[in-house]
Subunit: 204 residues, 2 copies
Amino acid sequence: MGVKERRERQKGLLRQEILDAARDILAREGYEGLSMRKVADKIDYSATAIYLHFQDRDDLVFCVCEELMAGLVKELQDVASRNPDPLVALKKGLRRYVDFGLRHPQHYQATFGIPHGRDPKKEARHQEPGTMGMQAFGFLPRLVAECIKQKKLAKADVHTVSCALWAGIHGITSLLIVMPNFKWNDPSRVADQLITMMVEGLRT
Amino acid sequence: MGVKERRERQKGLLRQEILDAARDILAREGYEGLSMRKVADKIDYSATAIYLHFQDRDDLVFCVCEELMAGLVKELQDVASRNPDPLVALKKGLRRYVDFGLRHPQHYQATFGIPHGRDPKKEARHQEPGTMGMQAFGFLPRLVAECIKQKKLAKADVHTVSCALWAGIHGITSLLIVMPNFKWNDPSRVADQLITMMVEGLRT
DNA sequence: GCGTGAACTTAACAGTGTTAAGACCATTCG
DNA sequence: CGAATGGTCTTAACACTGTTAAGTTCACGC
């Protein structure tokens, strides 16, 4: 049965080629600028060939983003394991999240900035459990709970606090991406300010 | 010269008809679902007639959003004038911002959630000074400064803090819009939690 | 050698933003 | 009064878009 495996590998290779091309175009031209034909041209296949590997355009974008967001999860794992103090890990993790988003603005925006769910059949996959985005979120309740346990943060509803923290860092990430021309003065400082505000607000 | 005025009024009427139709479609079908032909069909004109009143699709969307965001500015003015205590005004204003965004999710998203600026010629009008969005932002530094003056908040860089606050409330607004299927438990409580966290974080 | 089935392409449909050219028609001027 | 102007609007067209249906090609198992 070595043949089937080789076939599978071959098929997987094209799939990966598509993903790579799409990732590139998405980074360069954004969600709106990504078209099936552009992807196809880049890898010298017809546009319809993509449909043998992905259900539709949104599926392709979703897969590209998942692949990339796996990097974020890895980075957050790194931060968590390198910092025994959960409060330090929390703060550094939040900052890492923002920086990651800014390093991949178009992919971040495609993942967390586009209202999927208009079309009831398309199920809004980015917010389903198990996605990389949700795995990244998962770090928050774990760290927050540990902080409260160690009395480094005041007692509070862990899930609510985690959601609020996520909303906050999503806000600065998204806004810096969408409004690069706004007079931020020092974007990095604004991000730190927000993180400090939120965490300090949880100490009392 | 009464003739020209009548003409102007007539022209203005069609312009308003277009704006109304576009506002409606934007609310119902979102930014991606709004097309020139749909707008035109709704008011029984040809699609190209719209170009006599608006430069292009993005200009139309921008004008629709500006018109609507004027309502937000008005609401914030209301909050500010009704609450002599700047800290109370600040908290209520932040909450009002979120609620406004959730009442007009598609318009909010079109204003603050779409990366304009890909196309260098299109100048990203939503982030220019003088827009309603920027006027709404203007409330923040005023109230923050007043809070610091009255020693209700700790001394800090007013602009940086204002940006951070904006980022925070934008985050929860945007995320609630984009990810309605996420398990928020109680979205309203998350919004309050975030606002409390941020403001409390500024007290120290 | 032949049929099967997977991989892939071509052609087509319905839709998009936008521009160029022309139609219409009230106002203005000779 | 008739002709010309100029603004409003339409039709036709171009170059795109996502997606489906049908057809081609070709390696594999029998």
